[in-house]
Symmetry: C4
Subunit: 243 residues, 4 copies
C-alpha cells in the first residue's frame, strides 16, 4: 500500500518539497535539525514530510505520508521526526495552511528568549509579521520537558498559540511558520530570520531605543504581491546550479 | 522595433550591466530583489534595466529599454519591476546621474528605521556619504502604502528626497544610490553597505557614544581617485572566474 | 613498535577522528589551532590525537598514540601539540570521558573574558551547558604564563576546574569540552559555540537585561536523545561530498 | 636593469609574497584595497611590493622593487599604489621590520574611530597587541586630506606613530602592521582583526563593562612560539588547494 500511495503523489510537488529542504539548509534556516511539510494535494487529512533525516540530505524517496494524527502511512519501518505533531496539529486547526516549517534559525532564538523583546516587521518583505508573533511557552502546556513537541497535546497547544498568525516563536527552542504553499512557508521562514537580524541591530542603533516598524496597514498591504515566486525562482535556480 | 533598439546597444555596456547585477548579488547588496539601471548611452531620455528577474539571473537578453516615464520600449510582453519609477524619475531630475541602484541591503535597513540614527562616513572609501544621507518617509508622500514606489508620483517624491545626494535611505524598505557610471553606482551600493556595518559597531564600542566621522572636507577629497576602477577590476575578475 | 600499535587501531575510529578534525575546522570551531583526541578503545590509559598539525590538514597517518602522561608512544620523532596535557589529565580524572576537544572558537572567548558573563543554555540543543560552565583562570594555577597548558600540573588544574562538567572556558585562551564519544565532543564544541553567539544577542535584546534560559530540569531532559547522531550524519555527508 | 633585478630575486620569497596577497584577500583582511611588502633580502634599502592591483589579482610578474623613497626601480611604466610611502618610511626607521601590511579590515575600523576605544589583547594569539596599539590621526600631520598616505612626510608621521609597536590604527582609514617576516606580518594582520571582533563582543557582554585582557607579561610570553608557522602552513595548504 505504501508504494502505491507514493506513486500517486504529483512529482512536481515532491520535487518542490525536496528543494524546500535544501533551500532551508543552504540559507541557514535549518541545520541538521528542523523540517518542512506540505498538506497532501488530494486529501486534506494527510500531509507529506521527510522521514527522520537532516533536511540537507532529503531525497524524494524519503518523503513519508502522514495522517493528521501524525502517524506515518508509509515508511513505517523508519524512524520519524519526534516533533511531527507540530505539523499534524497545525493542519487540523488551520484549513488555510498548506505548508509548515519548523526550525531553530539562530536570529529568531533571542526573540523567543529575551524578556520584553517582540519580533516586528522591519521592512516590506516581512509584512506577514505585522499581525503579531506569539511566543509559545512550553512550560504552560507541559511543565518541565525536554522542550520538544513530542505529543499531540503539545502540538495542539502550539497550534493554539500560533492561532491565526503566520509565525510562532518557541521559547528556548525555535520557531514554526506556515504558508499557503511550500513557497510561502519557505519565504516566511527565510525572511522572518532576516527580519530578526535587522531588528536586533536597529534596537542597538536607535537613540532612546525607538524603532519605526511597518504599521498594521503597511504590513497588510506589503504582504501581497510577487515576492514569493520571485524569491523561489532564484532559490530554485541556485540549488539546481549546485546540483 | 524592439529588436532593432537592442541591436544598437553597445555590447560592452550590456555586459557591464549584466555583470553589475551579478556583483550586487554576490556581494549581498541585493538578494532576489533590487535592480540596477543605466542611462541609455545615445539617448538621455531612455534607460536600460533588466525585466522582472532576480539580479542573479539576469542575462543580456533580459535588458529592457525604458523611456523616462518608465514605459518599456522593448520586452513589452514581459512583466517589469513594479518599482521602475525609481529609475525614471531620478534620471529626469538628475542629468548628472548615469546609473541607479535600488536595494534592500541588510545593514542599511536599521539606519532608515532606528530613530535618531544617521548614516555618516566612517572611512575614506565612503566619502560619498559626507554630503548627507536623507531618509525617505513614504507616508509623507503616499500615506499608508505597500511601501513600494509603484507610481511616477512616488518616484518623484523619492527623487526629491534624494536631491543632489548620492544615497537616499527608504524607511522600512531599503535604499537607492546613484553614480556617474554603472561602476560608481555599484561601488557606492557596496561601500554604503560596508559603512553601515562598521558604523553600527563603532556606536556600540564608543565610550559615551561619540564616533569621529570624516569631516566634510575629508569626505569630499576622499571621494575622488582611483577607487572605483580598482574595485571594479577585482569584481569583474572574480565574477568571470566563477562563470 | 610504533607501527605495530598503529596497525592495531580500528580503522573506523581513525576515520572518525580524522573526520572530526575536518568538521571542527569547516564549522569554525578551530582554525589553524585546536585539537581533538579520543581515548584508546582497547586501553583506557592511552589516547589518540594528531601530531602537531592544523586540524584541517590531519590524515590517518598523523594520528599518534599517547599515554596519559601525554608522552607520545608513536611518531616520537615529530613535534607534538604543546597542550596535549589538557587531554591526558582530563582522561585521568574523568573515566566517563572518551573524547576531548580544545579550541579557541571566537564566540566563546568573550564569555571567558567579560566580567560577570556566564554561558548558559539558550535552547534545547545545549542542555549539556545546564550543569554549569566553569571558567579556568590560569593565573590561579600558574601565575603569569604564556596562557598555554604546557605541563601536567597545568593540565591537572584545568581538569579540576572542569570537574564533572561538559565544558570549561579558559580565560584569555579558549575552551575545552568533553564527551562520551568523538561525536558527542564535536557536537558539544559546535553547539556551545552556537549558544554563545545566540546568548550574546539575547542579552543585547533583552529589556532590563533578563533572558530566560533552560531550567536545570529542561537542560537535563533535553540533553538526551537523537541529536548527536543526526548532526554527525549531516557533517559526515557534507565532508565526504567535499572530499 | 629592471629585468635583471627581478631575475635575481629568490623565487621562494616572490611566491610567499604572492601567497600573502591571496591569504589576506581570502581571509577578508583586504578587499580590492590594501597591500603587503617585504624588505629586499639582499639590500635593506629596498623593498618589494605589487604594482597597483587588488591583492587578490597579484602574480609574481607584478612584484615591483622600490627604494626606501618608494620610487619604483622596476615596472616604472605602471601605476603604483599611492600609499607606498607607508612601506618605505616604516622600513627606514624600523630596521627590525621585514614586512609591512596595510589594510582596511572592517573590525579594526571602529577601534580607530570610536572615542575612548582601545584595542587590547583578548587571547594568547594576540600577545603582539600587548605593547599597545597607537591611533594615527592624520589631521595632526596633514590637516584636512583625502586620508591617504600619499607623501613621504605623511609616511614619516605614520611611522612615528607606529613607533616600536606591531600595529598602528589609522582613524577613518584602516591599519598598518609589521613583522619580522611576511608570515608574521600576515599573522598579525589576521589576528589583530580577529581580536577586534572578539573584543567588541566582550565589551557588550561585560556587566559593568569590564573585560580582562592579557597582562603585559602574558602578552609578551604568548607572543613567542610556533603560532606563525603553523597558521601559515594551513593558509598555504588552503590557497594551493584552491589554485
Amino acid at each position: 500500500m505504501n508504494a502505491a500511495l507514493d506513486a500517486r503523489l504529483p512529482q512536481d510537488l515532491l520535487a518542490d518539497l525536496v528543494l524546500a529542504n535544501k533551500i532551508l539548509y543552504r540559507l541557514n534556516v535549518v541545520d541538521a535539525f528542523g523540517h518542512i511539510s506540505v498538506r497532501h494535494p488530494d486529501d486534506a487529512k494527510r500531509y507529506l514530510m521527510a522521514r527522520h533525516l537532516p533536511p540537507g540530505m532529503v531525497t524524494a524517496a524519503d518523503i513519508v505520508t502522514f495522517d493528521l494524527e501524525s502517524t506515518p502511512l508509509t515508511h513505517a519501518d523508519k524512524p520519524q521526526y519526534s516533533e511531527r505533531f507540530i505539523h499534524g496539529e497545525v493542519y487540523k486547526v488551520r484549513p488555510d495552511v498548506i505548508s509548515v516549517v519548523h526550525c531553530h534559525a539562530r536570529p529568531l532564538l533571542p526573540f523567543g528568549t529575551a524578556k520584553g523583546a517582540k519580533l516586528r516587521p522591519m521592512f516590506h518583505m516581512c509584512g506577514f509579521l505585522g499581525c503579531g508573533v506569539p511566543i509559545f511557552e512550553i512550560r504552560d502546556a507541559g511543565g518541565m520537558t525536554d522542550m520538544l513537541i513530542r505529543t499531540a497535546p503539545l502540538g495542539k497547544a502550539l497550534a493554539a498559540s500560533l492561532g491565526d498568525k503566520s509565525v510562532v516563536l518557541m521559547r528556548g527552542h525555535g520557531a514554526t511558520m506556515v504558508g499557503d504553499s511550500i513557497q510561502e512557508a519557505v519565504f516566511r521562514a527565510v525572511y522572518a530570520t532576516e527580519n530578526a537580524s535587522i531588528q536586533m541591530q536597529a534596537h542597538q542603533l536607535a537613540v532612546g531605543g525607538e524603532v519605526e516598524f511597518l504599521s498594521a496597514e503597511e504590513s497588510e498591504k506589503s504582504s501581497k504581491g510577487r515576492n514569493v515566486p520571485r524569491a523561489w525562482s532564484l532559490w530554485k535556480h541556485e540549488m539546481t546550479a549546485q546540483g
